[in-house]
């Protein structure tokens, strides 16, 4: 579990994060959503320690990450897997070498065991056949999957994904979402995804934090979104006429199957 307590971050006079508090639960897909410039990327970089916050606390399983020495932070980072927006694969290495890199650096296993683990991860992302290829020889969706394989190879406790669906077609996006969701449940990982892909929001959002102008505007699940009365959230999620109609239809479905009662109780 990751806990954010009233974190702020500024660049010069510009305040990007204005006292954000949230809890990212383990075994769940936690989404940070928001328009461009709302502070979600900065928030993710602060959580993983690529940027330092001005005030507040970030707790990893009750341990204060912000108060840690660099050595301790490195140890926490070794429990983190991260999928970057552009995949961030090492160009000079093959797919297999990319996935094996964290093992080479941190594991004392034999080469045979390491290769076995790499193949397991590549099989998990359905890329066993691409093991000997270089990043330049594979598609964007495949690169993302290699990035996921590299992120999970050390069995991380926390998985961070920065816009995992950017630049991908809808089908590949769904495949990536499904994969991340499965891995989260399978290994009981605390997954945090930074996205503005509505498919991801509706399909995988166990817990969603909506950021608006550096503040947490709304928090809930993908089911709550359908009934949310927050105007800013609705304007962001259901931006088009088509999506607004889809929302009404979904509300109707939930009304029929009785889910609306639970929602009313919550409200």
């Amino acid at each position: 579990m990751i806990e954010l307590q009233d974190i702020t971050k500024s660049f010069g006079d510009k305040e990007i994060l204005k006292g954000v508090s949230a809890v990212m639960e383990s075994g769940k897909v936690n989404l940070i959503i928001g328009a461009s410039g709302s502070g979600k990327t900065v928030m993710m970089k602060c959580i993983v320690g690529l940027m330092t916050i001005n005030t507040g606390k970030i707790l990893y399983d009750q341990e204060d990450f912000t108060a840690m020495e660099e050595k301790e932070k490195k140890l926490v980072r070794q429990k983190i897997g991260m999928l970057f927006q552009g995949s961030a694969l090492f160009d000079s290495m093959t797919v297999e070498q990319n996935v094996m890199f964290p093992l080479d650096m941190f594991s004392r296993d034999t080469l045979r065991d390491k290769k076995k683990r790499v193949m397991e991860c590549l099989e998990r992302v359905q890329l066993k056949d691409a093991a000997k290829k270089f990043p330049a020889e594979i598609s964007g969706g495949m690169k993302k999957r290699v990035g996921i394989a590299r992120a999970i190879v050390l069995n991380p406790k926390y998985l961070f994904c920065d816009e995992p669906n950017s630049g991908l077609d809808p089908q590949t996006s769904l495949l990536i979402d499904k994969l991340i969701k499965e891995l989260t449940v399978e290994y009981n990982i605390t997954t945090v995804i930074n996205t503005h892909d509505m498919n991801t929001v509706m399909e995988s959002g166990d817990h969603i934090v909506y950021m608006y102008q550096g503040k947490k505007q709304w928090e809930g699940s993908n089911k709550d979104i359908v009934f949310s009365k927050d105007q800013k959230l609705n304007d962001f999620i259901f931006a088009s006429e088509f999506l607004r109609e889809a929302k009404e239809m979904r509300q109707l479905d939930l009304f029929k199957d009785g889910s609306w009662r639970d929602q009313l109780k919550k409200d």
Binding site: L50, K74, Q78, G86, D91, F106
Partner: protein, 247 residues
């Protein structure tokens, strides 16, 4: 301007300080160091081979052109060629060329890694990126550039001899006799001291500009150019300073 100089100098020192930490895996660091030795040493050998030969040849012909007095023996040409190459041409000219070859490679490689988030990915794995990416490059350059300079010295003198003999300026025996006249081993030490310093400057300055790239592809190009220009200027400054101190 002055403020910017101190800003860069301070950041540069912090970068160097940041390299010193216990390696996460010594074997991987060693592998990276050896890879850099191959890239810098073997990768630059071709250009060093060509410029050294021509540098030696041209020096012989120009020295012969200027030493027209009948009282100066022909072997003096070889002596001048030897000292010019060992003291100045091999270390400085080779390093200026290597600043272009190696400096731009280091800056663009690190810049590309920064832009494509590969450096962030390494940081996220808990790796000291300054130690893993920059330190092996600086160590490899400070080791391999003196080796390349030594090779450039030998090739330059050999090229000078061949040019002299082929053009009929002096015989092979006269050249060999001149090479042995008043040879000072200290000059070789001086050349090595210079090339060691130049190697450090080229790799560290280029790594600094590459590692701190912000923006996109255009900025990688700019960082590469700046790295080469600053390296060349600093090599020339250092050349003067060391000459004034050591000779």
């Amino acid at each position: 301007m002055e403020f910017k100089f101190f800003y860069h100098f301070g950041n540069f020192l912090l970068m160097l300080k940041g390299m010193f930490s216990r390696p996460e895996n010594f074997k991987m660091y060693w592998k990276q160091f050896m890879q850099q030795c191959v890239d810098i040493g073997v990768g630059s050998f071709g250009i060093v081979f060509i410029i050294s030969l021509f540098m030696g040849g041209v020096t012989t012909l120009q020295t012969a052109y200027q030493l027209v007095s009948p009282i100066i023996p022909k072997s003096t040409i070889a002596q001048v060629v030897r000292d010019t190459i060992i003291l100045e041409f091999a270390p400085t000219l080779t390093s200026i060329v290597l600043a272009g070859v190696i400096g731009s490679k280091i800056a663009s490689e690190l810049g590309n890694m920064r832009i494509s988030e590969q450096i962030d990915a390494l940081e996220m794995m808990g790796i000291n990126t300054k130690g893993y990416l920059i330190a092996p490059k600086i160590l490899a350059a400070t080791l391999m550039i003196p080796v390349l300079v030594a090779i450039a010295g030998f090739l330059g003198i050999w090229g000078g001899k061949e040019a002299g003999v082929l053009s009929g300026v002096l015989s092979s025996e006269q050249f060999m006799q001149g090479l042995r006249q008043e040879f000072k081993a200290y000059n070789v030490f001086f050349a090595m001291a210079k090339s060691f310093s130049f190697g450090f400057i080229i790799a560290s300055v280029s790594a600094y500009y590459g590692y701190n790239v912000q923006g996109g592809a255009l900025e990688i190009g700019k960082a590469s150019t700046t790295a080469v220009v600053v390296s060349c200027v600093l090599v020339l400054f250092m050349d003067y300073a060391l000459t004034a101190i050591l000779l």
